[in-house]
Symmetry: C2
Subunit: 256 residues, 2 copies
């Protein structure tokens, strides 16, 4: 099943995504079993981030080739950082490159686990059972700011820097897929989605030793490859079996 | 006015806090003008964190004497980091010290600004007008973990590490107050609440150059002084004109 959030009549609503239509739902599938209120044409949908998390977890260095490329140390245990909800935006929405950004402005294609159950001190199997589904994230990063900021507040959390979507796919073996990054239709990177140092369940086992994870929380899993973006580009991330997250890049002040 | 969130009949509800009673409200005062549904005795209230933020901002080094004490560099511009909602707990709730924690386990008494309006590219005056009210935060920190973690995920965001409350006070000149930290009734620190390198409005001006702040977001303002805590202690933070946030400390597994 594919679940999305769309803007319908000015309201954010959950929907079940079909080939041509989206069934609008009475509530979140994370809270129970919503009923169908109506439908909208998929081609006219305004896609929102498929969930607004209570806590937005993000894994850093998690792909061996990315670690080799950056010269970072291979992590000895799963760790997480945080991203911020203000930066979320949906499929087909604009990524705004601020005029003040200098240096590389990059896309990072990431698998995202959407949590469906409350978890504390989870086993690996409990962690597997607690993932509701999977979506795609683009961890847009302004590198010069990343080196200047004490945290990643500007570099990774400026408005529109966290496209997520297009939907949550509940029926896929996410770790057996391929992640492909394209700019203006040209492939810039492709890697096995599951080629991680620690997988999503390893992370959930480790972090729930200390904290409770809740339905709707998201865990972004890091990227193997990145590529630079320029205003005017359209960046697409495909994860086979999940879908394609596509966003145009505009220079600040040139959004229309 | 003092607004709180309390557990009433198993439900989280907003309330308006009086001397003896709490008026239960139909919704959040951040969303409009809720009406009164009933009252509960204040002495029987179960206090919840007074707001669950969409984004949980936290300032690091922001008091000259704290910066001097830690040997850190004085920040040249306002910056923020993040904390996580799972760690929030209310007034009178237990702070759980994990058994794995070694080294210092510390309280950090902080002023908290609760945002009431959507802000982007705010002036100093717009930032002032956008603060709905003020509450108190205790930025509990496990120092050994803080030095081991790549982010502050365990050290500052384990469950119960972020007591906040008891309520939001809307009518106070928060920067003209005194913050007092007590353990088991004994004063351990006291400092002028407003003696900051950059005040809350400076921070809102700077961060809204790059991102949108939303109603319900919180901004924790850092601490001048800290002190160590042990299981069995009760830690109190008073900010004059706002109130007292009090929490007992229990060792993990000894919560009852």
């Amino acid at each position: 099943m594919r679940y999305a959030r769309v803007s319908a009549g000015g309201r954010a609503m959950w929907g079940r995504v079909g080939e041509r239509e989206i069934e609008l739902l009475s509530g979140s599938p994370l809270d129970g079993d919503p009923h169908v209120l109506g439908t909208v044409e998929r081609s006219t949908a305004v896609w929102l981030p498929p969930v607004v998390p209570g806590v937005f977890y993000a894994v850093g260095h998690n792909y061996p080739r990315h670690i080799e490329h950056t010269g970072a140390a291979t992590p000895e245990r799963p760790e997480v950082g945080y991203r911020a909800n203000n930066a979320l935006t949906g499929h087909l929405s604009v990524i705004v490159k601020p005029r003040e950004v200098e240096g590389r402005f990059e896309a990072e294609p990431e698998l995202v686990a959407v949590i469906g159950r409350t978890l504390r001190r989870a086993s690996y199997e409990e962690a597997r059972a607690a993932v509701f589904g999977w979506t795609i994230g683009n961890d847009i990063s302004a590198r010069t700011w990343q080196h200047q900021d004490r945290s990643f507040w500007r570099s990774k959390n400026s408005d529109t820097f966290k496209p997520m979507g297009p939907w949550i796919e509940t029926d896929v073996d996410a770790l057996a897929q391929t992640t492909t990054l394209r700019v203006n239709g040209r492939e810039r990177a492709a890697f096995p989605t599951g080629d991680m140092v620690f997988d999503p369940y390893d992370h959930l086992v480790e972090i729930t030793r200390h904290l409770t994870v809740h339905p709707g929380d998201v865990l972004w899993m890091g990227a193997e490859s990145t590529c630079g973006l320029e205003p005017g580009d359209t960046v697409e991330i495909e994860i086979s079996g999940i879908g394609v997250l596509s966003n145009p890049v505009h220079l600040e002040g040139n959004q229309q």
